[in-house]
Amino acid sequence: MAVAAALALAPRLRVAPRDPDAETEALLGVAGWAAQFTPGVALEFPDGVLLEVSGSLKLFGGLESLLERLRRELVEMGWSAAFAGAPTPRAAFWLAWAGKQKFIGESAELEPVLAELPVEVLRCKDETLAAFEAIGVRTLGELRSLPREGVAQRFGQGPLTELDRALGLLPDPRNFFVLPARFGAAIGLPAEVTQAEALLFAARRLIVQLAGFLAARSGGVQRFVLRLGHRDKAATEIAIGLVAPSRDAEHFTLLLRERLSNFTLSGPVREISLQAGDVVPLPGSNLGLLLEQGKPPGQWEHLVERLRARLGTEAVCGIAGRAEHRPEHAGVIADHGAKQLQLNFGERPFWLLDRPKPLAEIGAVPSLEGPLELLAGPERIESGWWDGDDVARDYFVARMQNEALVWIYREWRGAGGWYLHGVFA
């Protein structure tokens, strides 16, 4: 139909010129995603992707369940697709192209099915098709019933060779698609978007593609970048960093949703693209015999490494008890995982103050936000003469006016006085 005629029928029709580059890009994107289902992916330009699936059926739970997943994810990526299957790639593509959703398992069943396909599936030149029409050949079956020599003489070897390949009489070797090292995909938005959250829907299409790509590479990424293209401004980049490499589309979507939920766009967005480099190996895991709940336990060492990398080595430590009477020496910072002594002290608080805090003494009663009530004590601690840091104190458990329990002492040296040393949290 001519554009003018179409516009006459539907005045609000939006006409876009065909963009072969974008079509190729899209096809490569689909091929990259499809490589997670089989290593044998071949392209049939400009609109076909062939998957060699006989080796994958068991892993993906049979043909029906594989097809279900292919369909669902293609829809999530925003594509509509026709599916067909056959023992030869040519026949499968023809069936799909002709819109016959057929899956043929045996070579013997191929001939009658192919015979019904229109000759257009051969995708030969228009004049060849016109010539077929002129001699009354409409289907492949009719073409095949003609004498081979005559057909070869009139139309060349091409159509016959194609037919033989489809029937499996001639070999049909394919170059398998090779995945690129980095992932990059873009989509133009049908209308300019001004709300950051509205981008998630479109970004989801790219994320599904990314997850497929990563599954095909048996890898994961620790960082991906969503680029927002504006009309007349530099693109905005939203980088999402992950703690551990992942290829989980749901996880990616979740992180992106979190980020977009409080993101203000600098301007309307016309197109978005998703980029991810540095694919690191991320082997799949065997499924457990029983269904396990929750996420798998992580590596403790990795956590410590990450915390230390950002907060400093000293920031991650353990605590240890020492055979010491002086309270500040009895519980100390130590390497985490250090060997521990079993010691039995009296009643001790969970929190020890870094340095004892002097308390006011009001009316001869120690006071901390009001007078303290002594509950237990005194516990005399007098020790440490050998290192010059000796103490002589009477410790008490005391109750504050607000019922908090604290550990205080009365100093016997120097100026004396009351000090707060711990909190019974």
Binding site: P297, L303, I319, G331, D354, A364, L375
Partner: protein, 239 residues
Amino acid sequence: MAGMLFSFAALLDRPDIWRGDSLNRVGTPTVACGFPELDAELPGGGWPAGALTEILPAHEGIGELRLLGPALAGLSKRGLRLVWIAPPHLPYAPALAAAGIELANLVVVRAASPKETLWATEQALVSNACGAVLAWPQGAKYAELRRLQIAAEGGRAPAFLFRVPEAAGESSPAALRIALGTSDGGLAVHVLKRRGAPLAQPILLPAMPPAVRSKSHHVDRPPAAPAAARDFSARLVHA
């Protein structure tokens, strides 16, 4: 009439009928908190694993850590690590050991800023390598808490956030929110939010630490002695 009542009761007993006033007893893994009165009121019978629990003590020193003691002791004895992020003071080893906590499995993370505290907490939760995560964030916003809640989901660790009592007025994505107060020397646990029906009455737990009270007869002065008398004897010793 009686027959009808009976059939209605039988209907309500069906496991596939969910009642709004019943607690969600299945699905969420929990860690028993060691206080039967409290376990009975917590969905799943304990601290929720893979979810945030907010603890809002009225003020420091009323037993907010003792409340976690039995659960932490159990986890650490199973070889699981307890990560304390930005605690307000030094966790005191002798007291923790006395509470049954394996100190070798206790790790303290010191953060320089509130932002780092949140970051470290998120890392600890996401890694799913910890047995329990305790954090003392300062002034966390809703969006930040939501991030933590998402990080905790699916994990095995209960995550305890200690926050100021004023935070009770803010909304929070935490699965469990508990305000702590005192009542007659004991600990009054107000469940502000839980999965399931709200709880109107506070749960009263015995005074903590109990040893202080039971030991009080060893004190050379009765604890209730007037301040002046105490002061007198103290001065005598001092002189």
